[in-house]
Symmetry: D2
Subunit: 342 residues, 4 copies
């Protein structure tokens, strides 16, 4: 099944495994005339990239993004934008011990069951490294959104603690060989009202898919999220008031989405990530032959996923918004007449 | 934008508004040879249908499903299955007071912003009644799943209380003209391992979209859901043990999905619904001209969404699983050889 | 496989068999605000409908189109437009003799091979009657095109003779129990330049698929078509000259398409239809058990396909153009800025 | 619009311009377990590549294909296969004279109209060089088809003359600075019966789109093609006879497709290519400002398209067949039961 493509008009296709020759993405359907060079992309990939900080693995890859097509004289041309990130720091031998074993919390068993075998080197296609392609693609969407004044603000919690205060917790995890869960909350300002659709292509439905397609996400919330199930209608409804550019809401329990359409209020979405499944504590599992084995996962693994995944959440959100912005342009006969007859 | 279609191979397209001539669905891509008559569909639609019970509106529609095509001598033929549910109980006059007003918590404002105007009668396309088509379509998927021994179990909480114990809470809401939130938890047994995909078409990503496309859903969880963000890897990982038909997990924090693939354990998903936005308490809002108005929503409205939405959650889940089951058949050259050369 | 949907943004899904309860279509993604009533649709379906004339079968169906959803106060609302045409004139018994036999030139064998069995009544899903849904859907696209001043002109040849002069030939076919091939040439004026795409979604590629998806089409040509293979570049290239609204070509060998984009010249496309495969002359074939049988096909069958198919060619063309018009609106950042920021 | 992707399950996405850094393709949805190395791909790209022969340009590019992902130990893994062909032989300066001019017979005008500007170097995205990506992708499909015993045979006519006899004609074109049209006829043996679909996804409809998406194609025929419009039903119908593996036809007017399904007979398709539009004879045209200019196109251009396009026709055909083969595996409940329950 062709599962590596995301989006309808503004669309990305990613490829690559953690230990192959590289990772990449094709952005197709990007409008012509958007200023774009590698310098617009790289900062996003730098945020996703492992660094020497306390929160992430020591693996050091430059993750330099090369644009191979789709731009001309510093602008997008409307043709597919191919971007390549070479893999440079590979130690395949680190992974030989997991070749025939199903790591708990990982996709290994699923791969073998579906495909009959797998590229067992470092997670292969299921590696977090796959998201480097999404981020490069999402960075192009970000360029489009920036032109319309749309901006992002993201907060990360680690085990319930704001990321900047969680160093002690992370040290503890690292010293024990354990890991911890995390939360990424993303707020988007400047989204025009009316984006989305009333049925299957609700804006929140597409955001839910986009964010849930990031590895290790186990819950997704819009606005007040889970807590709405304990709320009353009289509390939860956001009253409309007149605003400068049309109706506004004072409260924002809805997180910026009503009936599948953006409301013009800030878009507020939250993703919950499970703890990194690769831990160095001993775990019981089975091997390909169905025999019980104990596994101790070596190698460099982040003890928490959220800090590096934050930019992936932003980028997947940007892709959904770019697509919705394009699709909405075709919604009325008046708009068509203006485009073709004036 | 064409937003009324869901699925890749096993695919439904719904149509209809609450106060038009009817509601319907086309199921396309359904395999040939599945036993199917209206008697297989109707029980699902009867669960979604309003009834005279304490939990739902007094509107009484038979919601009789008519199969118009795609079956022959009691079996599906592989051609599109068109199903029609006529609207019979319409009181358009009930809705005239909301014609020029944006109801808080509703899609009215989004519709007007995107399309320039709207069918203001009873929610139009955004009415909960649209889900009658999804349920009829999902019931066909259920017939397919039943042939493979896949079964569903669903629990509903109302304001945090099990639905069967929440009568007092509902009476309170009804007497106050208020509404309350709810939770639908769906457990699916018998799902084969390996369904899904490692990147954008993760099984959980498609389930997230499917469930979030149901009106009023504000959060979606798989397995332990939000609480994973507070958990440790050593707790959250489900150890594998040898099972009768391959590896199994004793615990199921993952809710039956690992790395985007089904694991063979029970699939566990939870949807959180906001309180019904239509309440009869007075609310402040603005009208189409941007003037402040007070609104009191009349008409027959359920004080809670979960009880009737439970079957919609099941049906959307069934549609995702049917599609994933079909797609997985094409995953290996060995499978192709067996199909064509033996 | 879900093969009953056509189009990306402006999209139709058809359903129905010749001898089921009816035929129908869902138009999804149609912009809001297009004037539309049944009176806009019916004339197209009347052209497709069998009539008592010399050229077509004597079967008389009113083919009355009923709009079930998606319009409000005489305009499209942006939600799916469902249309239903009830089957009224069925004589299933006419077809009992073909139940276990593979008719030469028909889909019977393909259906049995793919699906294991088939609805053998009158062609089932493969009946020409399926195109009633396409025509109703295409008529909606025609309403959109009409607003932009795009118009159609269609000529039909029967066995190489202009349709209006072919009565003698048809009488001969009818008296012999034979049938004859035909050609439909469609010229579309007023198509804006620049519609289409340079690679897989070339405007001509989508037209080719659209027209080849009509039963009995065996060849498709744009502009000079087959004869270009004998031409020289110096003859075939259409020189540009300055025109009132930009570059124009004096000649139109290209048939209005250059490199996958419309050129602004008339779009000229030609479809070649095989003779009706249902003939009453005796033919040799085999049955489901693989035994040789002689077959004489009874019933009312047109001796030629083109005259009734002409409107289907137009409607499929209209669907491709409507979709391309919508997609092109999203092609530039300048267009996006104009739409959202002004 | 995202127009660079082709296929539903077995799907390719191409990228690249003639004068950028390279050309490439992602094959997504390819089943796992197909033997695949660069040595399986290169021979196809070598056939497409310009060589020093009489029939093609003197531009010499090695067109070496590099597989970047999706294989492991010499087999496909089920994950996307990314392939890269670096551009090595670029003389951008050759093209500076066409920067502001619309070449007759080219996509230049369409590009400017749709996107507002274009990468004018050597055709950009519309260059024949884009097909290098399709061929690499099609070569993977060929590997799949080979496993099932499906084989191709292709004939080329140049100006109506078999390619091997057309040297004199080509010399004449070259010496005059002119070009000539061509025909590619492709016969595929071993295609199983029943592939395809009865409505929009007819096998021939998808082949028509696939082949018409190749630049310069102006007509497409299946079997007897255009000539069916002059034929009688009694001549055109192919009678069935009992065969070793089920019904067969003795004649094959239908070219191996009946009612949208493969019939098991040889698939016969013909594409007609216009003469190369780049000729060195002086031509009249207009520039971007709408002024008349004379243009003489320099550079290295083949005087005929068919010989190098033949492998592109084969590869696009292979892609359609691979996709149809996968889709057909999901057509019956019996097949699903066999796959999951045995």
């Amino acid at each position: 099944m062709a599962g590596s493509t995301f989006g309808t008009i503004f669309r990305i296709t990613t490829w690559g495994e953690s230990h192959g020759k590289g990772i990449g993405v094709i952005v197709d359907g990007c409008p012509a005339g958007i200023p774009l060079t590698e310098a617009d992309i790289q900062p996003f990939n730098d945020r996703r990239r492992p660094n020497a900080g306390k929160m992430s693995t020591k693996r050091k890859e430059p993750d330099a993004v090369e644009i191979l097509s789709g731009t001309f004289e510093g602008k997008t041309t409307g043709t597919p934008i191919s971007m390549l990130i070479r893999n440079t720091d590979q130690h395949s031998t680190d992974y030989s011990n997991i070749m025939n074993i199903y790591r708990p919390g990982h996709a290994d068993f699923g791969f073998d069951t579906k495909y009959g075998f797998r590229d067992y080197r470092g997670g292969g296609r299921s590696s977090g490294r796959e998201t480097a392609g999404r981020v490069a693609g999402g960075a192009v969407a970000m360029q489009l959104l920036k032109q319309l004044g749309i901006s992002f603000r993201t907060e990360v919690l680690i085990g319930g603690i704001p990321a900047e205060n969680a160093l002690e917790l992370l040290d503890e995890c690292r010293s024990k060989g354990d890991s911890v869960g995390s939360t990424v909350k993303c707020t988007v300002s400047g989204v025009p009202a009316g984006l989305g659709d009333p049925v299957f292509e609700k804006l929140d439905a597409n955001l839910a898919k986009a964010v849930f397609s990031i590895g290790a996400v186990k819950a997704f919330e819009i606005g007040d999220g889970c807590s709405v199930s304990l709320s009353r209608g009289s509390e939860n409804n956001d009253s409309f008031v007149p605003g400068e550019n049309g109706p506004e809401t004072v409260t924002n329990h809805a997180g910026g989405i009503l009936g599948g359409f953006s409301s013009g209020s800030d878009l507020v979405l939250t993703a919950h990530f499970k703890p990194t499944p690769s831990i160095s504590l001993p775990q019981q599992t089975v091997n390909r032959e169905g025999k019980v084995e104990e596994i101790i996962i070596k190698g460099r693994h982040d003890p928490v996923i959220g800090p590096r995944a934050a930019v992936v959440v932003e980028c997947m959100t940007a892709l959904v918004l770019a697509d919705a912005l394009l699709l909405n342009m075709t919604a009325t006969m008046d708009g068509i007449r203006r485009f073709y007859l004036s």
